[in-house]
Amino acid sequence: MNKHNIGYLVREGVRGVFLHGFMSFAAVCVTVACLIIMGSFSLILFNLSAMVKDLEKENEVLVYIDDSYSEAEAKSVGSQINMIANVYEAKFVSREQALDNFVKEQDDDTLFQGIQAKTFRDRFVVTLVDNTKMAQTVKDIEAVKGVAKVTAHYEISQGFQTVQRVLKIASTAIIAVLLAVSLLIISNTVKLAMYDRREEIAIMRMVGATNGFIRWPFVVEGFLIGIFGGAIAFFMEWGLYDALAAKIASVDSLKLVTVIPFSDVLPVMIAAYALTGFLVGVFGSLLSIRKFLNV
């Protein structure tokens, strides 16, 4: 591309958007529709994944301290446990607290009223940073002096990991399929626009235009359509998401479902919509123009 041409080709691309108004409008609508579907799926999967992670955090490891340790000695073991890399938090529970909790769990049944606190051990309730490393972390905790026994629910942790893996694979597959479908639909829309302008392309070729010269205005046009479609889709998605989140909050008084606020995912969503809009716009144009360059 010649330096004298850059400004002209960009101007032509911008002009093309307005000159072929209806086709541009159709391409923007298709882009918006595809991106909203894709964005909605991504947000649903993102929320599900976050919910699973929250539930997983409640999968705690119980660390029982040696019977012979006094409460002060038992508490000091906590600092060593906290030093283990994968430990998020180690919360101390004394024998007395453990007894109280146990009695409460039995609905204050009189049968358990006579139990002595010394029947219980001092303990730590440990939450982990990454539950996939539970086995190794349990080994590290067991190695700490003063730890008598560690109880961990591997099967629950593995269950969560399986759910997360399935969600990850499903979301990747769904997003990939939707991206391919979007690309195909947008590429076909751009192809229609180009079919409309095949005579213009033929003239370009006849006066000696290189493929690059012909392609650039269409790429600029595709880029603008993609970015504009991406921006509209982003704001519509934001509005729809917030409306849905407000509806869920009003219905779900027990707070069973936690919806991540859109502001938390704002930078990611801006980047995702801009990038996807750019990709489908530019690659959609490049894919569709190939056919018209073979004359």
Binding site: N2, L19, I203, M206, V207, G208, A209, T210
Partner: protein
């Protein structure tokens, strides 16, 4: 300069469009290529502009060997030619000035060069006051003049005109031919493909007649010798 040697073109459906055409056109010549419909005139143009590959033979067009030409070199070969069509092929949404300037932009000319050259060429074809008009605001003869200006603007070695007067009345046809003759007098080779006998006979030029894919006569006497 054009040099075709035993050029053959057989289409995929088996139609033999060119059956061994040999033709030499020197720089600065004015040649009429005549023949009935389906004789192979359009196929020769398509071969010369590399729109169609040859089936056999050799073709040299302004220094480019078409039987060996790379896809990436075709635009540069086309820039040595100025092609004019019966249906003008102007971009409807661009002004007259932009239609002509467009051919210069393709070769990477600067804005300063465009602003200097386009008015000059428009003046040459008699459209100095029509630069801001859109093609559909012009008569057929004027539209063809725009197409000639576009073909001429990059100073090509040769102008190929495919039935340039096919959509024009006799008076406008004559004017266009006169314009092409003037362009030829300035040193540009001109090849006009036509089947208009009367028009050809008004000019004393070389006439090459083609029929059934073969050259059947090639005379310098200015007469339409085919038929």
């Amino acid at each position: 300069m054009i040099d075709l040697q035993n050029v053959k073109k057989i289409y995929e459906n088996g139609t033999r469009a060119l059956a061994g055409v040999s033709l030499h056109i020197d720089d600065g010549e004015f040649v009429f290529l005549v023949g009935p419909s389906g004789s192979g005139k359009s196929t020769i143009i398509k071969v010369l502009t590399a729109e169609l590959p040859m089936t056999a033979g050799t073709a040299l067009v302004n220094g480019f060997r078409l039987e060996k030409i790379k896809q990436s070199s075709i635009p540069f070969m086309r820039r040595t030619l100025g092609v004019i069509f019966q249906d003008f092929r102007l971009i409807e949404k661009k002004t007259v000035f932009e239609n002509v300037a467009f051919a210069m932009r393709v070769i990477g000319a600067s804005e300063a060069e465009i602003k200097k050259r386009v008015p000059y060429v428009l003046e040459l074809v008699g459209l100095e006051n029509k630069g801001r008009r859109l093609p559909n605001e012009l008569s057929g003869g004027e539209q063809q003049r725009v197409a000639i200006a576009r073909a001429l603007v990059n100073n090509p070695n040769m102008i190929i005109a495919d039935e340039p007067t096919g959509n024009l009345d006799p008076a406008r046809s004559y004017e266009i031919m006169m314009l092409l003759e003037q362009i030829n007098a300035l040193g540009t080779t001109v090849m006009v493909v036509t089947h208009e006998k009367e028009l050809v006979n008004r000019f004393t030029k070389r006439v090459v007649a083609i029929d059934e894919g073969k050259i059947v006569s090639d005379g310098m006497d200015g007469y339409y010798t085919y038929e």
